[in-house]
C-alpha cells in the first residue's frame, strides 16, 4: 500500500500514514488493547443493525442470518440504491443514536460475538458491562457526514431482513479505512460519554442559576 505501513505488536492492527487501522476479524487482544479516546480506522466487514435487528435477535430470538463474530456492527440505516448489475450501492451512510439500542445491546453482543460497535452518542451500563465481559468496544463516528463515510464503503456484500425497510435492514458492507472512530467505551468498561455527562450535569446547575439571576433583572426593566 505504501512505505509507511507497519505492523503493531497487535495481530490485525497496522499503522498507515499515522492512522491506526484495524482489520476484521478483530482479535480479542486487538480490542482489549484499545482505550477510550483512541482514534482508529477499520477495514473489512461490517453489518448494519439498529432497533429492529436488535429486537429480532434479542427479543424474538431469531437467528442472526449473517456471521458477525469478531467483526463490527454499525448502528446505521444507509440510503442504498440498486445498480444496473443487479446489486446495491451505498449513496449515504452514517451512524444513528446508539442509546436506542442500549437495553438490548448486552444480549446482542453476547449472542452475535461482535467486537466493535460503531454509533452516535453514548451508551450506558448494559453495553459497558458487555464490553468488559466479552471484549468489545463502542466507538463514535462523527455523524451527519454521510458522504465522507459512504466513500469509505467498497461494496455491499449482502442484505438480509429487507422486509424491515431500507433503514432497518441488515446490510453487510465491506469498508476501507472507515473512520475516524473514537473509542468511547473500552474493555475496562470506561465510558467517555458517561464521564462527560456528569460534567455536563454539574455545569447545568450552575448555568440555570446564572441565567435566572440575569433574567430577573431583565424582567424588572
Amino acid at each position: 500500500m505504501n512505505n509507511e505501513t507497519e505492523r503493531c505488536g497487535r495481530k490485525m492492527t497496522k499503522i498507515i500514514n499515522e492512522k491506526t487501522v484495524l482489520s476484521t476479524p478483530f482479535t480479542e487482544e486487538d480490542i482489549r488493547s484499545l482505550h477510550t479516546g483512541d482514534v482508529i480506522y477499520i477495514t473489512g466487514d461490517i453489518a448494519t443493525g439498529r432497533d429492529d435487528v436488535h429486537i429480532r435477535v434479542v427479543k424474538e430470538g431469531m437467528e442472526l442470518p449473517v456471521d458477525i463474530h469478531g467483526k463490527a456492527l454499525m448502528h446505521a440505516g444507509p440510503i442504498v440504491r440498486s445498480t444496473e448489475e443487479n446489486g446495491f450501492e451505498v449513496v449515504a451512510i452514517g451512524p444513528t443514536t446508539s442509546m436506542r439500542m442500549e437495553k438490548l445491546e448486552y444480549d446482542f453482543i453476547k449472542e452475535a460475538g461482535v467486537r466493535l460497535i460503531i454509533g452516535k452518542g453514548g451508551m450506558g451500563e448494559h453495553t459497558a458491562e458487555a464490553c468488559r465481559e466479552f471484549g468489545a468496544v463502542h466507538c463514535v463516528l462523527p455523524a451527519g457526514n454521510a458522504v465522507v463515510t459512504a466513500l469509505c464503503t467498497e461494496e455491499i456484500t449482502g442484505v438480509e431482513w429487507l422486509d424491515l425497510g431500507m433503514p432497518e435492514a441488515l446490510w453487510s458492507i465491506r469498508v476501507k479505512d472507515l473512520g475516524p472512530l473514537i473509542v468511547t467505551i473500552d474493555t475496562s468498561g470506561k465510558n467517555l460519554f458517561e464521564e462527560k455527562k456528569l460534567k455536563i450535569a454539574d455545569q447545568k446547575e450552575k448555568q440555570i442559576e446564572e441565567i435566572c439571576k440575569r433574567f430577573e433583572s431583565v424582567l424588572l426593566q
Partner: protein, 301 residues
C-alpha cells in the same frame, strides 16, 4: 400554461427543491458553522468541524444527501388566498415528496403506526406534515421545508408548568433536556422553545422557532434577551460537536411565544441537528420563485 401544466411545474420545482435541501445546507447554517469552527479552541472539536465542511463539499460535488437520515419532510406554508394553485397545493406537495424520495434519493423513513410498515416513499397518514397559514388578498405562496431527522427529534418535549414555576421553570425545562439528551442529538444544536398556554400550542411554537433564520431574534426584547442568555448558558455547558466537548453546544436558541392562560405556563422544546436542512422558497402567481436560503438553486424544465 394550462392548470395541469402549472401543477406539474410546481410539483417538479418542489421535488427538485426538497432534493436540493437534502444535499446543500442553507447559507445561514453554513455561516454559523464556520463561525463556530473558527472560534473553537479544542483541537478534537475543530477536527470534527473540519470533517463537516469536507462532507458539505463532497455532498455538493457528488450531488448526494449530506446525511443519510433525510428525515420526514415538514412544510410550513404562508399561502395567499389568491394563489392560483391553492386548491391543488396539498396534492402537489405530497407528489413532490414522493418524487424527491425516488430521484434524490431520500431515505424512506415513514412507518405507519400500528401497521408498523415502512411505506417506502415518505408518504403516509399525516406525512408529509403541513402547517397552513392563509394570507388574505395575496396571490403568492411562501413555502418553508424542513427535513426532520430522527436523532434530533428524539429529545423533543412539552409540558404545562405551574405559573409559579415561572421563567426559572422554563430555563430548567430546556437545560434538563439538553443535559440528558443533547450529546446524542448531533450537536451543535438549533434549539426551538415555545412558550404558550398548553402542550399543543407550546410544542407547535417550538417547531416554528426552528424555521427561523439562524441568529434571528424574537421581536419582544425580553424574549430576545432570554434567547441570548440561554445560548450563552447552554454553550457554557460545553456539549461540543458530537457531544464530546467543545466551546459551543448550539447553533442558536429561538423562542416563539404566545399568550398563556392565567393559570398555566406551557413550554415546549424542539431540536435540530447541526445539519439543519431548512429551505425557504417563495412563488409568485406565475410560479416564478426566489429562495433566500439556497440562492444557488436553479430549476430547468
Amino acid at each position: 400554461m394550462t392548470l395541469n401544466e402549472q401543477v406539474e411545474k410546481m410539483t417538479d420545482i418542489m421535488a427538485s427543491f426538497i432534493g436540493y435541501t437534502a444535499i446543500h445546507l442553507p447559507d445561514d447554517v453554513v455561516s454559523k458553522l464556520r463561525e463556530l469552527r473558527d472560534a473553537e479552541d479544542d483541537p478534537a472539536a475543530k477536527s470534527i468541524y473540519d470533517m463537516m465542511f469536507e462532507n458539505m463539499r463532497l455532498a455538493s460535488e457528488l450531488g448526494r444527501p449530506s446525511c443519510q437520515d433525510t428525515g420526514l419532510v415538514q412544510f410550513r406554508i404562508d399561502c395567499g388566498s389568491r394563489f392560483p394553485l391553492l386548491e391543488q397545493l396539498q396534492a402537489i406537495l405530497v407528489t413532490a415528496v414522493r418524487q424527491a424520495t425516488e430521484k434524490t434519493p431520500l431515505r424512506p423513513n415513514a412507518v405507519e403506526t400500528f401497521d408498523e410498515i415502512n411505506t417506502g416513499d415518505n408518504i403516509g397518514t399525516g406525512a408529509p406534515s403541513i402547517s397552513w397559514n392563509i394570507i388574505p388578498a395575496w396571490n403568492g405562496c411562501a413555502i418553508s421545508t424542513y427535513l426532520a431527522g430522527g436523532g434530533c427529534s428524539l429529545p423533543g418535549h412539552a409540558a404545562v408548568l405551574m405559573p409559579g414555576e415561572g421563567y426559572e421553570g422554563v430555563v430548567r425545562f430546556v437545560l434538563d433536556r439538553i443535559a440528558e439528551y443533547g450529546q446524542n442529538a448531533c450537536p451543535p444544536l438549533l434549539v426551538g422553545v415555545g412558550i404558550a398556554n398548553s402542550v399543543d400550542t407550546a410544542a407547535q411554537l417550538s417547531k416554528k422557532a426552528l424555521f427561523r433564520s439562524v441568529g434571528s431574534r424574537n421581536p419582544n426584547e425580553k424574549a430576545a434577551k432570554m434567547e441570548q442568555l440561554l445560548e450563552d448558558g447552554i454553550n457554557a455547558i460545553g456539549v461540543g460537536p458530537q457531544g464530546m466537548g467543545g466551546k459551543f453546544s448550539v447553533l442558536g436558541v429561538h423562542i416563539e411565544n404566545a399568550v398563556r392562560h392565567t393559570a398555566t405556563l406551557g413550554v415546549g422544546v424542539s431540536f435540530s441537528c447541526w445539519t439543519h436542512r431548512r429551505g425557504d422558497i417563495v412563488f409568485d402567481k406565475d410560479l416564478s420563485f426566489t429562495t433566500s436560503t439556497h440562492p444557488g438553486f436553479t430549476y430547468e424544465q
